[in-house]
């Protein structure tokens, strides 16, 4: 038994290490991709400030020199990484503030929005999916599927606009964007689990619904639901962009939006790294927890 436990923990460690390596490599590549994109974008060489008639020739020359320093994408990226290791993420071109300060100020709001949105969406999706699986009334199932299907067909930006119109919190808009995706998977998973022979037998023998759910259904669907949880975190982070941009919420989503429009290279690169890091952490976390659950079952 201890030998088996040792083997399981070494497997887990290897999995965590593999995820960690993949995470670092993907984040670095993601940042580089963002830097390349902005560098290749038309108009990168031009700085609006150069057109300011109040600036003298020396100042314009200094601006041109500053842009020239960013011309070599590789050297720019590696210098940025070197500085980032020491906690300096550079200064935003468009907002004129240190990127680390901007991220520090705005991240809590986005985290709160995304966390609340995820919580609400999962609560609604699981409540509807579970009630449909318990009741087994086709009309009710069709109704819940239609409801989630309708939200799936509405663009995220429209849901954000409607949340402004009805004066509802941005977290609810994020929840409505994530909810149909989670509901679709949860409903299918639960329907499949409830049609398993041992669960049908348990129902026929008169076991209580809660006992069937927690003892027989949850162990079957938990690993897959965890994988969906990781994906839903990524969807919620993506949804934060239109919601924050259109609802006027000063979070990282709005910052990403502003950075993209202003072609603010240092800001865009750091936001891309942050977004990649968050989504990868969510997915890797879900995968590792799923692995632990599966190994415990085994």
């Amino acid at each position: 038994m201890p030998r088996h436990r040792e083997l399981a923990s070494s497997l887990l460690l290897r999995k965590v290490a593999r995820h960690g390596l993949a995470l670092v490599a993907t984040v670095l590549l993601g940042g580089f991709l963002a830097a390349v994109l902005v560098r290749l974008a038309p108009g990168f060489e031009v700085d609006e400030q150069q057109l300011d008639p109040r600036l003298n020739a020396e100042s314009v020359h200094a601006l041109v020199q500053a842009r020239a320093a960013q011309r070599n994408i590789l050297s720019f990226y590696f210098h940025s990484l070197e500085r980032a290791v020491h906690g300096d993420l550079g200064t935003s071109i468009s907002l004129g503030q240190p990127v680390s300060t901007l991220l520090r100020n705005r991240a809590p709001l986005t985290l709160r929005l995304v966390a609340l949105g995820l919580l609400l969406s999962w609560a609604a999706a699981m409540a509807l999916a579970l009630s449909a699986a318990w009741l087994r009334v086709s009309a009710y199932d069709a109704m819940t599927t239609t409801l989630s299907g309708t939200f799936l067909c509405i663009p995220a930006a429209v849901l954000a606009l409607l949340s402004v119109l009805w004066n509802v919190p941005g977290a609810l808009a994020i929840a409505l964007i994530v909810f149909p995706r989670v509901h679709r998977y949860a409903r299918n998973l639960l329907a499949k689990a409830y049609s398993l022979p041992h669960i049908i037998t348990a129902r026929a023998k008169g076991l209580s619904e809660s006992r069937i759910l927690f003892w027989h259904v949850v162990p079957v669907v938990a690993p897959q639901l965890l994988a969906v949880a990781g994906v839903s975190a990524s969807i919620a982070v993506g949804a934060a962009i239109p919601v924050e941009a259109l609802c006027g919420l000063a979070g990282v989503g709005q910052l990403a939006w502003q950075a993209a429009l202003a072609r603010d290279l240092p800001l865009l690169m750091n936001v891309t790294i942050l977004v990649t890091l968050v989504t990868l952490l969510a997915n890797s976390g879900a995968d590792v927890i799923g692995h632990v659950l599966r190994s415990q079952e085994a």
Binding site: T26, I154, A157, G238, P242, T279
Partner: protein
């Protein structure tokens, strides 16, 4: 017998929904193609004496804030979205077939490299990736160029998840008996891919194509609302939905929601059509 009847009933019901969805899509496409006859004044004509007008006999859906007929703009916008989203879906499906199919078929290091690139794209939320890449493209381009840039971008970025599915399917085909036998008979690798592997990927390709269309329609709408989609004066569902930004209450001008209702109906219809395609691919 009862089981057979129940299965037949479900199949008939599914077919009825699918037929209805196809009919809705054909009707919407047909009407949008007839925009030149149904709205001969065009989408740019301004009725300066009637800006922001309510629906009337002359303007069925009223006019926008600069007096352009909303019905005409909805028709022409539908045409753009419904013709170009499938074109973008075709491009992304072809890219997925080539990248994912080839990677799965070749296996080994090339598959790992292709999937690493795919994972990199998939690790970024779709909307974030789209907004970032669209924003670095030129924004002050001609309307026609903006349409092409928007949908080309959707096609060029939307292949990743389809490539993953195709890589897995091609990987399983690579180890199938008939491919092994063909390889053992001396069939060239390129012929094996084009003649034996690619045709067997068709059901998955169809499914991915149908899945991509509503995704691209919704993505264009999102970009349009955020001001990164099709440029004015060309209409698209995205730019038409941007009008909702100025609404004060839902009940005051319900006709402004017509593009949204149309978009929901069309995307729902695609969902019904593709559920059959998904079943075929499974």
């Amino acid at each position: 017998m009862r089981l057979l009847r129940a299965m037949l009933g479900t199949r008939l019901r599914n077919n009825a929904w699918r037929t209805l969805a196809c009919a809705v899509l054909l009707f919407v496409v047909g009407v949008s193609l007839a925009a030149n006859w149904l709205a001969p004044a065009g989408y740019t004509k301004q009725y300066r004496e009637a800006p922001d007008a309510a629906p009337s006999r002359q303007h069925w859906l009223g006019t926008d804030e600069i007096g352009r007929d909303r019905f005409a703009r909805v028709l022409y916008g539908t045409r753009i979205s419904l013709l170009l989203a499938p074109a973008a879906a075709l491009l992304s499906t072809l890219m997925a077939a080539l990248i994912g199919g080839l990677a799965g078929y070749l296996g080994g290091a090339s598959a790992r490299a292709a999937m690493a690139v795919t994972d990199l794209f998939l690790s970024l939320p779709w909307l974030f990736l789209l907004i970032t890449v669209r924003a670095v493209m030129p924004l002050n381009v001609s309307p026609l160029a903006s349409v092409l840039v928007t949908f080309l971008l959707l096609g060029l970025l939307g292949w990743t998840s389809a490539a993953r599915v195709l890589c897995a399917t091609a990987g399983s085909l690579r180890n199938s008996d008939f491919v092994r036998q063909a390889r053992a008979s001396g069939v060239r690798a390129s012929r094996l891919f084009w003649v034996h592997v690619l045709p067997n990927l068709k059901p998955v390709l169809y499914a991915q194509f149908w899945i991509s269309i509503p995704v691209f329609i919704l993505s264009e709408a999102n970009l349009g609302i955020l001001g990164l989609g099709v440029a004015e004066p060309l209409p698209s569902w995205g730019s038409l939905l941007k009008e909702l930004e100025g609404l004060v209450s839902v009940g005051d001008e319900p006709w402004k929601f017509v593009p949204l209702v149309l978009l929901v109906v069309v995307v729902t219809s695609f969902q019904f059509v593709l559920s059959e395609q998904e079943q075929a691919a499974a």
